[in-house]
Amino acid sequence: MLRLLIWARDFAFLLVATMTVLFFLVRLAGDPAIMLAGPDATPAQLDAVRQAYGFDRSLIEQYLIFASHMVRLDFGTSLADGMPALDKVLDTYPASLFLAVMAMALNLAVSIPVGAWLGQERGGAGRRLARGFISVMQGFPGFVLALLLVNLFAVGLEWLPSVGYAGPASWVLPVVSVASFLAPKLIRVVEANTAAAYRSHYVRTAVAIGTGPRTILWRHVMPNALLGATAVVGAEFAFMVTGLVVIETIFAWPGIGWLLVRSTLNLDFPVVQAIVFIIVIAVFLTNLATEAVQMRLDPRLRGPGAAGGANG
């Protein structure tokens, strides 16, 4: 109960702070009236626009109006097309979340077995080769790989569509691009945690009671190695829910990252504010879920609990 209150307090603080900073940053970024009225507008036309949208009031006044509307989840309408800003965001977010979930699923499916395999032993030609490959992958900026994949499979071989969000074939390249950006880091963490678990005293205990290598891997090593990896998985997911701006732009993926770029360039600040509002909530929920998973996996986080009586 206390935990929940602390969470709620942190969440409220984070949301208010972020939205406040954002509000003033956006107002510093440029004059939206020029965008709305067009470059050839006369000063009189500009003034009319400013009056219509309330830009002529003081910043503090505008902020208070904005804040009072935000409390009612009213972010105003898009300056570009007059649609409610929040609706635009909620319409595009599922595509982003879909990409995030698919990429994370692929990332987990690859990184956990590969990391566990690498963590079991140091030597061997296969493992050395895999480690070298992962190092190279880790050095690639995500979008370079995405562009290479597009060139190879969409432009060169014409096997897969390069853009859009229409059916499984169009998902492959974006999902693979994102997953291959996430995987090297997770593989490294799973590998390091697996190796550490194999060196641990509790695995020596398992060997000392006659447990075989498979049970040692599945029942002793992996639960601990995955526990150590949950923080990274959570951080990677939080990173994705903030919008995969570059990937969505390259693949014309109609998600929140793509919307964010367009709205920012157009100074469409109601939409930008709605996007950030939703992202803050999504990141917060992701962190909450990560913590819940860690509590589930690690009995030490669930508090001391009831055990024995007297010492000794």
Partner: protein, 273 residues
């Protein structure tokens, strides 16, 4: 029982050689020419300062050596049967079955995400043909016999929920779960508070009856408390061994004498503090 059976020691180690084999470099001898034997009912203390090769010598019995360390020579017999050349499957059947281990640090030696009972049950079912329910009953019984408190004797407790002494009792229950012939305890009291140390030593002493036991310690007073025989190790070699009374009162080797001097100084030093 007949004479010849009784005469065969439970454990006989002959001319043990253990090497460190670093990835790139040349092998380095860590333990050289150690020979020991332990009969049923006997408690052998292996004493010596840290790094003298006590743990490696004892772990080598069940080929429980860390990565980068290997058995380079010698032989190990358990109950008259040679075991150092057994294949891994047969060796696994001995570990936790006929040979039980108690380790120094009971917190790091228990898997943090598994209950004490689940580890015990894993060992019991590995070595005895028992269904899950009977294995659990036996686990509770073993823990209760080691005097863990509560109706279920902490069988469902996670390691962090127990005190240091309780964890070491659970570790002893684990070592004894399948009625081993040989009990190897490596510094079993070193990580514990002094008052708890005495309780654990008393419990160990009681549990050594009828089997062969090895107690590794750097503390001569611990060895003096429960060992019949004492072997002294120094820099990977056995420098002296014999009946406890003889080694403690009439040491033959300079190194043993210096150990004894330090052991006698220790209580006086703490008394003045």
């Amino acid at each position: 029982m007949n004479g010849p059976v009784n005469d065969t020691p439970i454990l006989a180690i002959r001319d043990l050689q253990i090497d460190a084999v670093p990835a790139g470099g040349a092998p380095r001898r860590l333990v050289d020419g150690v020979s020991l034997s332990v009969a049923a009912g006997e408690v052998l203390g292996i004493v010596g300062q840290s790094g003298s090769g006590k743990s490696l010598s004892a772990f080598a019995v069940a080929r429980l050596l860390p990565d980068g360390v290997r058995l380079a020579g010698g032989s190990v017999h358990l109950g008259g049967q040679r075991i150092d050349d057994l294949d891994e499957g047969r060796m696994r059947a001995l570990r936790g079955g006929r040979i039980g281990f108690v380790f120094q640090d009971p917190l790091s030696s228990f898997n943090p995400v598994r209950t004490i009972g689940s580890i015990l049950i894993e060992s019991i079912r590995r070595h005895q043909r028992l269904d899950a329910k009977s294995a659990r009953t036996l686990a509770v019984e073993m823990l209760a016999r080691m005097r863990l408190p509560g109706k279920d004797a902490c069988v469902d407790a996670y390691p962090h929920q127990l005190s240091g002494g309780q964890r070491q009792r659970a570790m002893i229950a684990l070592a004894l779960a399948n009625g081993p012939d040989l009990l190897i305890a490596d510094e079993p009291t070193t990580a514990l508070d002094p008052t708890i140390q005495l309780q654990i030593l008393a419990l160990l002493k009681q549990q050594t009856a009828g089997r062969a036991s090895i107690l590794i310690t750097h503390d001569l007073s611990v060895a003096a408390a429960i060992c019949n025989r004492i072997a002294v190790m120094h820099q990977g070699r056995l420098v002296e061994s014999g009946p406890a009374a003889q080694v403690l009162t009439d040491p033959q080797h300079d190194y043993t004498r210096s150990l004894l001097r330090h052991a006698r100084l220790a209580p006086a030093a703490t008394g003045e503090a």
